[in-house]
Amino acid sequence: VASDHRSKRYALQGSRWRVKNLTYKISKYPSRLRKRDVDEEIKQAFSLWSEYTDLTFTPKSSGSVHIEIRFERGEHGDGDPFDGPGGTLAHAYFPVYGGDAHFDDSERWTINSFTGTNLKQVAAHEFGHSLGLSHSDVRDALMAPFYRGYEPSLSLDSDDIEGIQALYGRKSRNTDRDSDSAGTSNRHTTEPPSEEDAELCTSASVDTMFNSADGSTFAFKGQHYWKLTEESIAPGYPQRISKSWPGLPGDIDAAFTYVKNGKTYFFKGSQYWRYTGKKMDPNYPKPISEGFTGIPDNLDAAFVWSGNGKIYFFKRDKFWRFDPAQRPPVKNTYPKPIANWEGLPNDLDAALQYTNGFTYFFKGGQYYRFNDRAFAVDVANPPFPRPAGYWWFGC
């Protein structure tokens, strides 16, 4: 099979519920199963998702709910008619569109049987959509689009778990029992207290942001760091910088990864550190003046610009361009005023070449997206600067 470059994995539609305690009701039951059997099957389908998150699903028999479930035939009022036995089995709406799930009542829905169509499997898949997951291209994932036939011990694939936890975080440990559902003791949980998670939402300013060589994006602040997902902050963060990058101090000034050698460089005061992945290279730290001649100490931000692959350093109202292939690496025409980057403020906190190809600048809890072609801060609605907490850290 010709493999495409992109690794296969879950997909997030882009919306999720802001609350984790959700309600549901079955407004219209299938014609060929007993109601109480359907109730149990649907409950078990939801439990696949609550097993790995703090989501809870409460059935209601009437009134407004988050997720309404209906078994319908043919055209049923949403402009997306069912097609009889086979073909389309069911469909569901993402949270932003209401979250409801519809099942084709002309299918032969069965429970614990190798014949017909297994209700629990299809329901669990559709509820993945109701929670904000799109289809996965991982063949074994529950969120793959195709029906797989009855599986007596249905469970989520790791891809499904990663996807749902990217949206709603990991299941928090039950500290008063100090053990997880399996009864194993978790005396030394590595997850920091949740109040620290509020750190970025209380004040979204950061010390620096950078991408690692494997394409992950990190935010550093004080002694802590967060790994970012497409949507928000990855579950289980913040963690301590020194725990993951042994030998690296907190309160870092600037950081970037130089793709050409895959190394990540960290700057603080008059020194810099070089890492391969999360392992410090020998004989570091070194003076900035030694490895980056022409670049000052006590930097504000640094990044590699996609426009020319050169390294840019920012400090107060000036910037420097460093080209490792040139001698000297910094021309004597530098430093230049940051005002040349139209719309950018001085005294930046961080600069990042994000995986979407855009360049982002952060200052004081806000951020700017830079338009490389116009060589100016992008004009967009809502305008820049935007609150980093909402758009980057899931606040």
Binding site: V1, G84, A92, E107, F114, H129, S134, D137, R139
Partner: protein, 84 residues
């Protein structure tokens, strides 16, 4: 799935395949109307077929080969694979 007595709606013709690709987000929705399907360029149809083949892990040929038609006949979820 045939063991489960499935009378799946088999996708066997080009038009059915293009309606399928349109229904699941690989071709523009206008193609759901068979009369419009001739408006699609061969290139865009081949690209849509390739994207579907890549998504489901088939050999990427850009043609409606047997494997691809068989995959399109498997019962599935009605939500698009490609969400705008």
């Amino acid at each position: 799935l045939s063991a489960s007595g499935y009378d799946a709606d088999s996708v066997t013709t080009d038009t059915q395949a293009m309606i399928y690709l349109s229904q699941y987000g690989y071709l523009s929705p206008s193609v759901k109307n068979p009369a419009m399907s001739h408006l699609m360029s061969e290139e865009s149809v081949s690209k849509a077929i390739s994207e579907f083949q890549s998504f489901v892990g088939l050999n990427i040929t850009g043609n409606l080969d047997t494997q691809t038609l068989r995959m399109m006949s498997i019962p599935r979820c009605g939500v698009k694979d490609k969400v705008g």
